[in-house]
Symmetry: C2
Subunit: 501 residues, 2 copies
Amino acid sequence: MIRLHWLAALVGAAVATQASAADLTAQVRAWRSAHEPQVVGQLVDLTAIRSIAADPAGLAAMANRLQAELAARGFEARQLTGAAAPPVVYASLQTPGAKRTVVFYAHYDGQPVTPAQWRSDPFRPAMRAGPGAAADVDWRAAKPPYDPEWRLYGRAASDDKSSIVAFLAAFDALKAAGRRPSVNIKVFWEGEEERGSPHLAEILKANKDLLAADLWLIGDAPVHQSRKPTLYFGARGDVDLEATVYGPLRALHSGHYGNWAPNPAAMAAQMIADLRDPDGGVRIPGFYADVRPLTAAERKAIASLPPVEEGLKKELGLAASEGGEGLTASTMRPALNVVALHAGDGGRAIPSQAVVSLDLRLVPDQTPEHVRDLTEARLKALGWTVVHAEPDAATRATSRKLVKLAWGGGYPALRTDMDGPPARAVLAAAGRAAGGPVAVLPMMGGSVPIYLFADVLKVPVIGLPIASHDNNQHAADENARLANLWDGVETYAGMMADLSW
Amino acid sequence: MIRLHWLAALVGAAVATQASAADLTAQVRAWRSAHEPQVVGQLVDLTAIRSIAADPAGLAAMANRLQAELAARGFEARQLTGAAAPPVVYASLQTPGAKRTVVFYAHYDGQPVTPAQWRSDPFRPAMRAGPGAAADVDWRAAKPPYDPEWRLYGRAASDDKSSIVAFLAAFDALKAAGRRPSVNIKVFWEGEEERGSPHLAEILKANKDLLAADLWLIGDAPVHQSRKPTLYFGARGDVDLEATVYGPLRALHSGHYGNWAPNPAAMAAQMIADLRDPDGGVRIPGFYADVRPLTAAERKAIASLPPVEEGLKKELGLAASEGGEGLTASTMRPALNVVALHAGDGGRAIPSQAVVSLDLRLVPDQTPEHVRDLTEARLKALGWTVVHAEPDAATRATSRKLVKLAWGGGYPALRTDMDGPPARAVLAAAGRAAGGPVAVLPMMGGSVPIYLFADVLKVPVIGLPIASHDNNQHAADENARLANLWDGVETYAGMMADLSW
């Protein structure tokens, strides 16, 4: 009864005249300015939760916390379980009179960590005055407003816990300002994105009705290097490959056996050189056959991006880029990245094996399955015996070049139509929230499983990133820049209360 | 006075008829059979001492212990210090009437360790019933004689602490049997061999008179794979190179930057492929120009070795060897070994750098200096900017392919004349101790700094290894096989009491 009474009050509010979009941003900004300790405190709290694949209890704790946060704000919140995946935090809030439903997506899991490589514990969030070697800041003792260049360091602080905090803060700001949403809101926060979302398709298929919507907004990934608020209309796909190259059954003295025992580190190096040319081109026959050309609109969006190339190279200490194209043009192509390469334990010995971790980034219309087949065919053509489990003695005894391939879960890329009504509505609302044009990427270089939403749910999908490009995402010392979080709160508020088509 | 009296007694003994060599071995074996717990206990004690470069206190403790062991046996024992090196344990014992002086060399330092890769703590020696996954054995509770296939696991247990223990046990056995040495004995046990003996030349030069001798016997390296007692007449030289390949200043998300940011792991792989062909051939112009051909005697010795190739390939799970020659023939050539290759921390990111550890094994008449020059010239010809210290921003900004080279201390190879009188005497005494012909290698694949002894001291140098070929030397789970230790005691006794020319 109480609940119905509250909804009736909202319906009444719906007839009130909405303030302008500019007022909206001003109201949200004022609320945020008055609540910086609370917003930062929430990001600190969420970052301290060990929600990584290696820690199922941490993932469960994170899901419970997020469900509680949403329920406390009046959402119908629950966890979608059943698949052998961490729970999806799902929530919905109807807006009386709204004709569109928007789902806000983010993931609450983070990449694995190697704590020794971090300046501080990845799950004890530390505020610092900026990037790199910046000094620690005692933000709890500081008087707001905080310096927006401060960054909070911790695993998943930006990828994606900042998006989650921005969503919650934007909602609180709207409520405090008495602004009702312009759309029905649904939330879908998953917990296995950093593992490649192996169960996402199953979860979407099992919950098609529950997830019915007119648009998905993806709160993942960094903004453009110009630091402008950014929208993206697609993302590269991804498939991981761990290749184990076998040498002698045990490591051997490199003097007594060097030149006689095959060296798996050298073999792995040759394998990489045989798969990838020095400019990043992929040496796998057929690899580029499925690549869909860019449309005129997509090429125009790329050409309109603020130039960042020279600044980035300077920031990153690079003399040149691979391929020599601009960053966005480069990432419109598929990539074969070597993300790890390990052999040898520090002694002067021929290693027993070498492990190569590859990360293949796909573009429309490549599929992980076809790329897998082409890659394995290429290796076989190069003389490799390809196995998918630990080789037995007979296989070792007959295979001069032996590699075990372990393929990770992958998914294809997506590029959403940039000219449809929801796309135009989002572009307009984002521009109003930002007070000017935003950076528009036809496709992000990074991967989020947005192909699935389009494929399973037949819905447009647009990316709404807020992390800074220099957030050390996926690496040690990941961090969230406060200015990006503040921008995110305003953009999220615009998407909740200023979106209509 | 007491000392002079003891020497006078020895002089008296020198006129007594020596028992035959066969009797000698029988006497030594009988003593060893009666003292297995003491000999093993000493190897356990020495292996437990952390005498590795990372632990200077462990090196010092080891030197003190060895000096004490020698002094307790009547040697004049001291430590040669002064160079910025761990002390050399030096000792001498004159044999009245002897006309030849033999120096017994070994090193008491061990390779670095990565304890996580060991089955048990590398400095808590563990006895096991055999190689690989063999069960632990409580040797202290077992009743001797011990199974000679048992192995003691621990860093440096075989390389070279077994040689040191064999020397001490052989000396004790001779003393117990009332057998006096046939030569004057000197001991030279160094503590930085696994680092490439950077100060050895300086120490030898500073102690030329002290070290005057007719022969050096090198108690280092493994025996032939046939498990026969072995002599070697040379060793490959060595020079280490750690190459750091630079990518972006920080690790970058492999999606957002993959195809644009240069990938140092892929660059390192290409560099390796550019330096070394798949059959181990070295792709450095001029690299083979200084290689001295084998003599007829050397080729004959190689041809006389028991065949081990097929058994070794089976034991090591290998379908083929690099180059397709026999093991000994392969290791007569110089080698470029990749002993480690590391990039990436486990996240899906483009690494900031890649580190390649190379180990170049040299043969006469190559020199480390010339090999360094040729390698750097090759890299420059391949387009690499070569630096020797951390590059500054200007260097990064102008170098598309940037590598830092850190060369380790190296030394050239040596092959000793196999036809000289001391060589013939050693071959004969070793054959008598073994009761038949021994395996003779013109040059060992592994490196010991024996070039220096010949170069500085103008003395013949012959290798007297005792470790088993499958001792995991330089790798995790290094171990000493008891049968090899027992053979070693007998061979050492022969070299002390049955050597004359």
